[in-house]
Structure formats: structure tokens, C-alpha cells
Amino acid sequence: MARWWMVATCALTVGAGTARAQHLLVPMDDAQANHLKAYGVTFTALVDGVRSEWLLNYRGGSFLLPDVPNLRRAAALAGVTFEAVGPDRVQEMRREISEGNMDAVPLEKAPRIAVYTPPDSPPWDDAVTLALTYAGIKYEKIWDDDVLDTDLSQFDWIHLHHEDFTGQANKLFLGFRDAPWFIQARDRDLAMARTHGLADIPALKKAVADRLRAFVERGGFLFAMCGATETLELALASKGVDIAGPFADGTPMDPDADAKMQWDRSFAMQGARLEFAGGVNSMSDIDGHQVNVAARRQPLGTYTLFGFSAKFDPVATMLVQDHRTVIADYYGVTTSFMRKVLKPGVTVLAHEEGAPWAKYIHGSYGLGSWTYLGGHDPEDPQHNIGAPPTDLALHPNSPGYRLILNNVLFPAAKKKPLKT
């Protein structure tokens, strides 16, 4: 797999040697005024068909764009810092990159992005849609109908909203069963299940999870945050096993559910133990922080991004490009992933020093790959239901949000395998 990277990098270097055009260097270190919109400007270049480069580990993971008027304009409007660099400076940069743990990765085409989210949800309901909207990156919304009935291979990258794929609505019935929005969402999902000939919401969400698994298996990129990570794993592994409480499907959980889980069907986890108590707001022991169970809740610390070899492990390197390596943690329905339940092949991208959990993980499945980031909103550590939306204009340099946007650009860099 590493071969095509090397070929691409060599081709780029040769090409650059003869290039006369000026470039725009978009630094991503502390010189950058708006890190998040820098991704949007780079994405604009890809949408315009302009080939760009991601300079991994060079000044915080900078971007090198051709100096064309449209990009200058986009950067200026967005308040993105850029430096016009001539051929000599570009040569010098390439020499520096070749000598260190850095690499230049060509970005070829804008990925087609879909976000799995209810049709009426506003952009600020989810950190990914918030980041995409703020950065000016276009995406499509998909929901259960789209996942079950349409060809997902039209998308390169799918993000999962903080959905509960076990069909238990994150056990929110414990505190919100009478809330109008909760009742509305439950009725909507039940109607959707019936439309597809499924008995209940858990069955619907499991069917959706299966389709998403097939999407990855055939070469798609999947990114999930918050509770979608843990529940997708549980939904995939529980084929034919009732893991939903009676409040969700009218029947009790299978008492032998733990033993019947098929972890070979899931992406990242194995051997996790389910939470059988209906009154305990937790799904399993996957999450290390257990924010909604006071007696188990762990305090927030900081998580540290790992460094990877840019030349030999470009994918992991791309996913951790940031101008900070230590970032303040934040809660979500699922905040972290206990190491003891991670499959051996999983790459830990970030963890909390000395803690038994990882924060940010990645892996391959079939021809595609998946990435999980724990927590709900990198700039709202204690996110509560009903809390006002995060205003990203106040966090243009958010290192946590950068991780989300790394995932958006990463498919642009990778050569797409053929889908079947």
C-alpha cells in the first residue's frame, strides 16, 4: 500500500522542479489566523479542480496551493493566513521536508461527503456539520431511507451523527421520555422502521449499521464521534441478539447477549460487556468516562496526539496534523474507548497519558477505513442537551476541531480503490 504514496511523492517532486508558477503556502502552525477555514480554502481548491498538497508535519501540517486569484480571494475573505512563495522557496521547503519526518501528499479531488443526520437537524447539532459549515465545505445529509435504499458508493466519506445504533435513543428515555422532541424523534424512527418492514427501532438501526459496514467494506471512509462510535460497534456485533431494553422494543435484553456477540462483524472493538441495567445510562464498558453514570464518571483530562512517520505511515500522520499535540478533553455520550476492548489492529491516534482509554482511533476494514473520535464537541467540554450551539467564530484555531477536518481532507489524498 505504501508504494503508491512513494510514487505520488516522487512525481510531485519532479513536477515541482520544473514549475515556474508561484504558490501560496497556508501555514498551519501558530502563524495561522484561522485554522478551520484553511481547510475550507483547500477544499475550495479541490472543488475547483486545482491540485494541492498537504505538507505533513511541516509547520503544523500546512497546505501548498497554486497561486491563483480565486484561492487568494477565498483565503482573504475567510481570514486565512497565507504566504506567497516563489519557486526557490518551494525548492527549499521540499528539501527540508525530504530531510525530516515530513512529507508532501498530493490532494487530488474533493471528496463527496455525506452526513448521517435527521433531515431537520440544524448544523449546530453536531460538531462535524458545525465544522463543515463554518469551514465552507459542502456536504449532503442522508438519513435512514438514503442509507437503506440508495447506493452509498456515490459518497467517499460518511460521518455519523451522534445516533444510537442500538435503537435505544441513548437511553434518554430515563430523563426525557416526556419531552416533545424525544417523543417526536421516537415516533419518526418507528414510522421509518415500519416503512421498511422492520418491527422496531432497534431493528431499523441495526439494518442501517449493516449498510454502513458494507459501505466501508467496499472502500468507503467512515468517521464517527460521540455515541455513534460505541453503538455502531454494538449494533454490528449483535446481529440476531436482542441487546435493546424493553423500553425500546418491548422485550427484555437477551440475558446471554454478552456471550452471543459476534465481534468479528465490528470494526474496532471486541469482548466488550453490555450494560444490562435499564436504569443505568450506559451501553457497555467500551467508554472509559461513563459521563452519564455519576458513580462511574471519570474526570476530564487532556489527550495527547501520537506522532507517526510521515513517509511510512501517511494516513495516521494526516489524521493527527495539528498545531497542538496535547488537547483538553471533552465529554460525550461516549467520550473514550477502553484499550482492553480494542482489536489488535486498531491504530490509537490519541490517548490520555496514564489512563486506560484511547480518545481517537483508526483502522481499516475491507477496502475502506473508519475513524472514531470520542466526545461530542471539542469546544464544549460539558455539553448538555439543550445547551446553546458552539460559535466556531470564537474558536477559529480549535485544535480539537482540526482533527475532524483532517478526516474530511484525508479521503482527498488517498487513491480510491475500485468499488464493487
Binding site: G79, A294, A393
Partner: protein, 593 residues
């Protein structure tokens, strides 16, 4: 407090503690010890050192004396003797105080190991043990100590409450949460723990839930309003509505309303705070709360809220001092109408001397600001016999200002005859400006202290133009001073013809007035003129921004976007660029700005 009195206070405090004490000491013995100790304290204060015959009281007195004198080693020895004599709790508490001063808290642990087995149910000793273990960082041992105490008294709230307090003191809100939840599960309700729950929730950032708990706590203990304010003050702005909802719920005690009002002051929204208190039916208690609000709001320089509260107090409990204070605050709130009303009310209740010295200056100032120059002159004339010529001259500036506000520059000048102003007085500057004398205005206005928007506009003009005279521009400022904004806008626009080197500024002043008047068509024409004809002027970015806003108000998002983009790209160094980017984002994302 003298040292002798201080010693009495300490001994009495100690006696009070002892009186509440529990099984660590024999009850009857303590009743006697209390009286003896109190008596000993009195003697100590009077004669020093006639002591009681009771050996325990003497030992305690000596230990306290050593502690007060900072003789820590001696105090430690003294408190150990107190413990040995059977007064375990005061002895341990004394040791705890002294060791904490020396930062040697761990030296107390062997004492606990000895006394806790003897008095395993004593809440004072148990609490001290938990405090000490937490302070020295022995968390696991603290947890074990708590569990041991809890298991010994499974139906008692004290172990949970004391341990939760210790954890909260050490900023371990999440751990306190766990303990309090255990208490709820074990005891069935948390009524006795509501204070700790409130603090814990605030510590966890659960602001609304914390406010709810504080509200509950204040039903039984109304004096917790200060603690509520202290606890909830850090609430981030996004979560404050939740706090407001809880503290304003029907049936909430007065303390909740008071706490919310004080919180609003701390959050910079004092007028919202007054809105919480204003609907309360006046009673002695409520008026007392209002007075506290006034003091706090005045400290925060929240003049409008302070004024409103003083008006309400004066209505409920009229008195001259309140009315006069209200008048002075009303002037600070830029409300001369209320100031005049209150000043006159105060004047009616005061004797002639106080009226002259305390009320009249405020009354004249209010009249001047209202432009009621003739009335101001009458008030001054009435007081002339008492004031004398010199005293009257002291008010010439106020009378001149009154005539300026009335728009009569000639009478303002006349008022100053015999009391010439300094050339650099602001009143001189305004008179010069109104008469079109830019040179005089330039000299006087620049010395204005804490200039408002009107002075900044005037200074911008006189400094931008090199001309010496501009009667039309002067007339425009005079119209503005009279409150005739429509005329002022027209005059500013007209003045652009006489001051070509400041034309863009004059059009901008006119456009700002038209925008404020919501005369959108006129404003848009003027902004367009500035943006297109004076693209190099300092006002051009503002004109672009306002042009965009005008288009947005008309529903032309595309046009608005074009002008915002033009501003960002053409004037990248302008201070308005971040605002333009924000408004551009809002247009793109369809959010409300």
C-alpha cells in the same frame, strides 16, 4: 478588638463548640466545664491571670493563649494535654488548627488513630479526620474512613455530608457527586444535603441544577443568598438562562430573587436584576433588599438600574435622602427628567440651607441638560440672596449649557458675561463649534475629559478640516444638540459643500443619523455616496458595511455579500474586517446576527 477581648472571644467560641459536643466527652462534666470556661474567660479578660480551679478549663485556656500568641510548639503541647485530660474534641480541633498553620497536618494522623476507636460515632472527630486525610492527599484512606463511618451509622446523613463537603473544598466535585448520589440511594431523600448538592453541581458546571438546589436550600435557610451568588457567579453566559429560570420559579423564596438580582449585576446585566426585584410587594424586608441592590448596583456603576431601584424605594418609603441620591444617580444615568423630579421632591422635604447646598446644584444640572434654560435662571435668581454674586457666577457655566441645549447661542454667551470661561473649557468649545469657529473649537474640545460620541464626532471634524470657519457644520452640530436629528442630518450633508476636505466625514455623520432614525432610503443614498465617491477615505469601510446591512434588511443577500466581500478584500487592515467576516458567515450559514 484588644488582645484581652480577643482571648475572651476565642475562649467563648471554644466553649460554644464544646457545648455542642457529643459523646467524645461526658455530658455532665461538659456542662460544668462550659460554665467554668466562660467564667475563666471573663476572669482572664479582667485580671489576667486569675484562673479557674477546674484543671481542664485551665489547660484549654493555656493552650488557647499559646495559640493566640503564635507559640505553636507550646500550643501543640497544650492541646495534647487537653486531650489527655479528657477533652478530646477541643483538643483535636486545637491541634488541627495549629498543625495546619505549620503545614504539618500529617502529624495529626496518629492522634486520629488513637481517638477514633474510642469515639467512632463522633461527627466532629470524624470530620476532622476526613479533612486531614484529604488535605495530605491520602484519598484512599479518606475513602476508607468515610466508608467505615457510613457503615457504622447507615441511616445518618452526617458521614455523607461531611465527606462531600471535604471533597468540594478540594474541588473534587465529581467525587462529591458520587458520595451524594450514594446518600440519595441510602437515605431516600437529599433534603439534608441540599446545600452540598448545590455546591457540587456548580463545581461540575451543572449550573441550572445547582440553581435549583440553591433555591431549595433557601426555602429553609434564607441567608444563603450570598453563598448562592458566590457559587453561581462563574456561570457561563450560555447557561445563565437556565439559572434565571430556576431562581425565578413560582414559589421561590425572596432569597432566590435577591441572589438572581445580585448575579445579574455581577454578569453586567443589572437592569435584568432590577426586573427580578421590582415586582415584589414592598415591605420592610423587601425595601431592605432593594437598598442592598442599590448599593451593589451603584458599586457596579449600573446607573439606570440604581436609579430605578431608588425611585421604587422612594415611592415605598419616601424620604429626602433617598430622593436626593436618586436625583444624583439619575443624572449619571443620563436621565435628567427623573433627576429633576426627585431633586424637587427632596427639596420640598429639606430646609432652605440644605436645599441650597444639596438640592439646587442637581436641580440646575437637570434643567440644563433638559434645555430648560429659563427655568434654570429662575431657580438661580430665587436663590440669589443666599448665594451672592460670587455664588451665582459659579453656576454661569451650567446656565450657559442650558441655553446651548435650548439652542440659543446668544443667551449662552450672555450667561457667561462676568464669568468668562477658560479658553479650553468644553462649553467654550461647543459655543465656538456652534458658531462655526473651527479654530476655537479645535483648541477647546481636545481638552474634554472622557469624551462622548458627540465630542468624538466634533473632534474628527475639526481635526480633519484645515479650514477656520464652517457655519453650516456648526449649525448641524447645534441642531444635534437641540435634539433635531432630521435637521442635523440635512445640515451635515449640506456642510459637505463648505468643507470639501471633510466631505466624507460629514456625509458619514449624516448617514449615521439617518440610519439611527431608520430613514433607510436616505441613509443608503448617503452610504453609497461615501463608499463610491470617497473610496479612499477612512469612512469607506464603514460605508461598505452599512451598505451591506441596508441591502440585507431589504432582503438582498447577494448584494450584501458583494459589499461585505468588497470591504474585506479592499480594506484588509480595517478594524471592521472581523465584523464583516462574521456577517458574511452569517449570510452564508443563514444564521441570525
Amino acid at each position: 478588638m484588644t488582645s484581652a477581648m480577643s482571648a475572651v472571644a476565642r475562649v467563648l467560641r471554644c466553649a460554644a463548640v464544646i457545648a455542642c459536643l457529643s459523646p467524645a466527652v461526658d455530658g455532665a462534666a461538659w456542662a460544668g466545664a462550659f460554665h467554668r470556661l466562660a467564667g475563666g474567660a471573663t476572669l482572664h479578660a479582667q485580671a489576667n491571670p486569675a484562673r479557674s480551679a477546674d484543671p481542664v478549663a485551665d489547660l484549654m485556656s493555656k493552650a488557647l493563649e499559646a495559640e493566640s500568641a503564635g507559640k505553636n510548639r507550646e500550643a501543640i503541647d497544650g492541646w495534647r494535654k487537653v486531650i489527655a485530660a479528657g477533652a478530646t474534641v477541643p483538643g483535636v480541633l486545637g491541634l488541627e488548627r495549629v498543625f495546619s498553620i505549620l503545614a504539618l497536618e500529617d502529624s495529626l494522623l496518629p492522634t486520629f488513630a488513637a481517638v477514633i476507636p474510642k469515639f467512632p460515632r463522633d461527627a466532629q472527630l470524624r470530620s476532622a479526620q476526613l479533612r486531614t486525610l484529604a488535605t495530605v492527599g491520602r484519598d484512599a484512606e479518606a475513602m476508607r474512613a468515610f466508608e467505615e463511618w457510613r457503615d457504622l451509622q447507615p441511616n445518618d446523613v452526617a458521614p455523607y455530608r461531611e465527606f462531600a463537603r471535604v471533597l468540594l473544598f478540594h474541588n473534587r466535585a465529581a467525587a462529591a457527586d458520587t458520595v451524594l448520589r450514594q446518600a440519595t440511594a441510602a437515605l431516600g431523600n437529599t433534603r439534608a444535603l441540599v446545600l452540598e448538592i448545590a455546591q457540587m453541581r456548580a463545581g461540575l458546571g451543572l449550573w441550572q441544577a445547582s440553581a435549583e438546589a440553591w433555591r431549595e436550600a433557601m426555602i429553609e435557610e434564607p441567608y444563603y443568598e450570598s453563598a448562592t451568588v458566590f457559587s453561581l457567579q462563574p456561570t457561563p453566559s450560555a447557561a445563565r438562562d437556565g439559572v434565571r429560570t430556576e431562581l425565578r420559579k413560582p414559589g421561590a423564596p425572596l432569597g432566590a430573587a435577591q441572589a438572581l438580582a445580585f448575579l445579574e449585576i455581577a454578569w453586567g446585566s443589572a437592569r435584568l436584576g432590577w426586573q427580578v426585584l421590582a415586582p415584589l410587594t414592598p415591605s420592610d424586608t423587601v425595601v431592605s433588599v432593594w437598598r442592598q441592590f442599590v448599593d451593589e448596583a451603584e458599586r457596579a456603576r449600573a446607573w439606570a438600574a440604581t436609579r430605578d431601584a431608588l425611585v421604587a424605594i422612594n415611592k415605598a418609603r419616601p424620604d429626602a435622602a433617598t430622593a436626593l441620591r436618586g436625583a444624583e444617580i439619575s443624572l449619571k444615568a443620563d436621565d435628567p427628567t427623573t433627576a429633576l423630579m426627585l431633586a424637587r421632591e427632596a427639596g420640598n422635604a429639606l430646609d432652605a440651607t440644605r436645599r441650597l447646598g444639596e438640592v439646587m446644584p442637581t436641580e440646575l444640572e437637570a434643567l440644563a441638560r433638559l434645555g430648560r434654560a429659563r427655568e434654570a435662571e429662575q431657580v438661580l435668581a430665587k436663590a440669589a440672596p443666599q448665594l451672592g454674586e460670587e455664588g451665582q457666577r459659579g453656576y454661569a457655566r451650567t446656565i450657559a449649557w442650558a441655553w446651548i441645549r435650548a439652542g440659543d447661542v446668544g443667551k449662552a454667551r450672555a450667561a457667561l458675561v462676568g464669568a468668562p470661561l477658560d479658553a479650553e473649557d468644553a462649553v467654550s468649545g461647543w459655543l465656538s463649534l456652534f458658531e462655526g469657529d473651527l479654530e476655537g473649537a479645535r483648541k477647546a474640545l481636545r481638552m474634554t475629559e472622557s469624551p462622548g460620541q458627540d465630542v468624538i464626532s466634533a473632534l474628527s471634524l475639526v481635526n480633519r478640516s484645515s479650514q477656520k470657519s464652517a457655519p453650516i457644520a456648526g449649525a448641524a452640530f447645534l441642531s444635534l444638540a437641540r435634539g433635531d436629528s432630521a435637521q442635523a442630518a440635512r445640515k451635515f450633508e449640506e456642510a459637505a459643500g463648505e468643507l470639501s476636505d471633510a466631505a466624507s466625514l460629514l456625509f458619514t455623520l449624516a448617514a449615521r443619523i439617518e440610519t439611527a432614525r431608520k430613514a433607510d432610503d436616505r441613509a443608503m443614498t448617503l452610504w453609497q455616496k461615501v463608499a463610491t465617491l470617497y473610496a479612499e477615505a477612512p469612512e469607506a469601510p464603514e460605508a461598505q458595511l452599512e451598505w451591506a446591512r441596508g441591502l440585507k434588511r431589504r432582503g438582498d443577500s447577494a448584494g450584501a455579500r458583494e459589499h461585505l466581500e468588497h470591504l474585506i478584500l479592499t480594506y484588509p487592515g480595517s478594524a471592521l474586517v472581523p465584523q464583516a467576516r462574521r456577517e458574511l458567515d452569517a449570510l452564508r450559514m443563514g444564521t441570525v446576527q
